[in-house]
């Protein structure tokens, strides 16, 4: 295996002796990740701030005295520019046109006889007065205006009228609900990460393997440099193993760079767009145990080797880089789907044997690691699934290296 190590070093030297390769493989992806995630975060932040600072323009037609009192009491007229309009369809049509154009955010129309109908109600089946809300749901301002109006005016108005009619609102309260969240702290904190991490790791490992192997194998074949290597006394199996080992190391480094830059970027972004994540867990509080880290590393090592082996095999079978890319692209989509499936799993833990399914089992295991719920047997199944599959593919690579038809299109 001395010669395999020689070939491996050559693969590593090809990248590490070239500043451009180091930049394009390790530095540029990290920078792109940081820029993209932070740009998205800044844009979402800016959008939320803009909506918060925007003063809604609201028109209210036929407002009742009760409604006016609620608006004054809740301070709604301080957060929105409220204009009261009387009857006249011409005015209303103009306001609706303004809503469509985005110049007005909300139109509220009370029935003309709102108070009379409300007071005339005595039994079931009697008429109920109506409040109509008009807004443009495709604009953030429109949605925010409706939401604020409901919270500050409609709900208090409804409660006030109900209280007036019944006398004692407590009569309507048949029970109270108290919520206490009981959750494993690790699981709670890792919930968001468990959704994203399997997909991210699987996708990044495959992308790294794909970008490297296509050129290092199909590219070498196309350029005629692989044949030069075959003319040396190095055994073909040693060439295959050396290449796979070198490419696996490079793909792992590349994937780790991707993963670290993504997690850092997501951490900084979570403050803005991950309001959901704040409920599900706080990424800042995440801490991995040694067991979780070892499990994750083992899965990533076996997974990256599997991906390198698969993409190398397809690259060897291809005649040139173009054909290799077209062979690998559909597989990339399948791998991404396998990584994504775990995003939609229910609370039910999958059967242990599912962890032995290559790629999918790894995604499940990574998900389990993120919430600290992975059993040792599941980890072993996941690693073995990858190793067995990688061994089969490696055997295929060795056979392909021995095949004249494959190597020389003979």
């Amino acid at each position: 295996m001395k010669n395999a190590s020689l070939v491996m070093k050559k693969e590593l030297a090809r990248v590490f002796k070239d500043k451009r390769m180091i930049f394009s493989m390790f530095i540029l992806p990290a920078l792109i990740m940081l820029v993209i995630f932070n740009l998205v975060g800044m844009m979402v932040d800016g959008m939320s701030k803009d909506v918060e600072e925007h003063v809604s323009t609201v028109y209210i037609q036929n407002a009742t005295e009760n409604a006016k009192n609620v608006i004054a009491a809740s301070g709604y007229d301080k957060v929105a520019t409220v204009s009261y309009v009387g009857e006249g369809m011409g005015t209303i049509d103009k306001i609706k046109e303004d809503i469509l154009n985005g110049d007005t955010d909300l139109l509220v129309v009370f029935d003309t006889d709102f108070d009379e109908v409300y007071k005339a109600y005595t039994k079931s089946g009697d008429a109920i007065p109506n409040i109509s809300l008009y807004y443009n749901s495709t604009t953030n301002y429109g949605n925010a205006a409706v939401s604020t109006f409901n919270a500050m005016v409609v709900d208090p108005l409804r409660t006030g009228l109900q209280s007036e009619r019944i006398g004692n609102l407590e009569q309507l309260t048949v029970f109270n609900i108290s919520e206490t969240i009981i959750a494993n702290e690790d699981k709670k904190n890792g919930q968001f990460l468990s959704m994203m991490l399997p997909y991210m790791i699987v996708m990044m490992l495959f992308a790294s393997a794909m970008s490297l192997c296509v050129d290092a194998v199909a590219g070498e074949k196309e350029r005629g440099t692989l044949a030069t290597l075959l003319l040396s006394p190095i055994k073909r199996s040693e060439i295959a193993f050396g290449k796979l080992a070198g490419l696996s190391i490079l793909a792992s480094i590349s994937a780790v760079v991707y993963a670290i830059s993504s997690i850092f970027s997501m951490g900084s972004m979570s403050k803005s767009i991950m309001g959901v994540a704040d409920d599900a867990g706080d990424m800042g509080k995440l801490s991995f145990s040694a067991w979780q880290v070892i499990g994750l590393v083992l899965i990533m090592i076996t997974l990256v080797y599997l991906f390198v082996a698969i993409t190398s095999l397809l690259s060897i079978l291809a005649k040139d880089i173009k054909q290799a890319s077209s062979l690998i692209s559909p597989l990339y989509i399948v791998v991404i789907l396998l990584g994504m499936i775990t995003m939609f799993t229910t609370g039910k833990t999958p059967a242990d044997f599912m962890y032995a399914i290559p790629v999918y089992g790894s995604a499940l295991a990574i998900q389990g690691i993120a919430v600290n719920a992975l059993e040792p047997l599941q980890l072993i199944f996941s690693i073995c699934g990858n190793v067995v599959c990688a061994a089969i593919v490696t055997f295929g690579i060795k056979k392909a290296f021995d095949s004249e038809k494959v190597m020389f299109n003979a």
Partner: protein
């Protein structure tokens, strides 16, 4: 020493390949019972038109291809059973087999030296000799991709000779080279012969074969149709020179199509 006995290499053709070659048979006999021996201190030339089977024969000798039938031995080692030993004693150079463009001549020279089991001091001594001889020292740290065609060819030659092989095989050694670089390659082959190496070249350039080769084997349609020194072949065919002799042999042995030198030589008659 290279011994080739009844070398046969048969390819199974795909339908697209059959259409490309305009044949109804799904079998192509690229080499059909070829036998010859190349001795130390001799340049043996394989002469033939494009597609005659020269490259296939050389690739079988270099262990890149496995013969369908027959026996090939390099320095007494069987190419099928003792591939590694064969490659240890062999230097192979062809235009189709190239150096990795991302590395420097120095790195590749050292890499292949180590691949041949040489020590650092052996590599350094060999490097001083070959790099100085071919004037590579000036660009030894430049990447192959940035070198001119002549520089690349020189780098490829020294890399193929790093382990001081007993047998040297050059497939179309001057193809695509300018006159000056081609001359330096031919001079190298002569000096290697003088050192007692066994050399085989393949070519379809008659003048090159005439000047360089001690003996020639003419291959047409996978068969060896003539062998001997240039004067012997010329005399046997009753021709005026090697070029005429070759056309006579081609006309007499190429059965499938009408004799058409323009087609047979791809328009590159030299």
């Amino acid at each position: 020493m290279i011994e080739v006995q009844d070398l046969t290499k048969v390819y199974k053709l795909s339908k697209s390949k059959m259409a490309q070659l305009k044949t109804n048979s799904n079998i192509k006999r690229a080499a059909d019972g070829i036998s010859f021996t190349a001795k130390p201190g001799e340049i043996y030339g394989l002469l033939g038109p494009n597609g005659a089977g020269k490259t296939t024969t050389l690739r079988c000798i270099a262990t890149l291809l496995t013969p369908t039938d027959g026996h090939v031995a390099v320095c007494g080692h069987d190419t099928v059973k003792e591939g590694e030993q064969v490659r240890e004693s062999l230097g192979f150079l062809t235009n189709e087999i190239k150096l990795d463009p991302f590395f420097t001549p120095k790195y590749l020279f050292e890499f292949f030296g180590h691949a041949h089991g040489m020590t650092d001091s052996e590599i350094a001594a060999r490097k001083a000799d070959l790099f100085g001889r071919f004037g590579i020292t000036a660009f030894e740290d430049k990447k192959i991709e940035s070198l001119s065609t002549g520089m690349k060819q020189k780098a490829a030659i020294v890399v193929s000779l790093v382990h001081n092989p007993q047998v040297v095989i050059f497939d179309e050694p001057t193809s695509g080279l300018d006159v000056i670089t081609a001359k330096s390659v031919l001079d190298l082959l002569k000096s290697l012969r003088d050192e007692g190496k066994t050399i085989i070249i393949s070519t379809h350039i008659m003048s090159e074969a005439e000047k360089l080769c001690d003996r020639i084997g003419v291959i047409i349609d996978g068969h060896k149709v003539a062998e001997g020194t240039v004067p012997e072949i010329v005399e046997k065919t009753g021709a005026a020179d090697l070029e005429d002799a070759f056309f006579v042999l081609y006309r007499d042995n190429h059965k499938e199509e009408e004799y058409n030198p323009q087609k047979a030589f791809g328009g590159a008659r030299k």
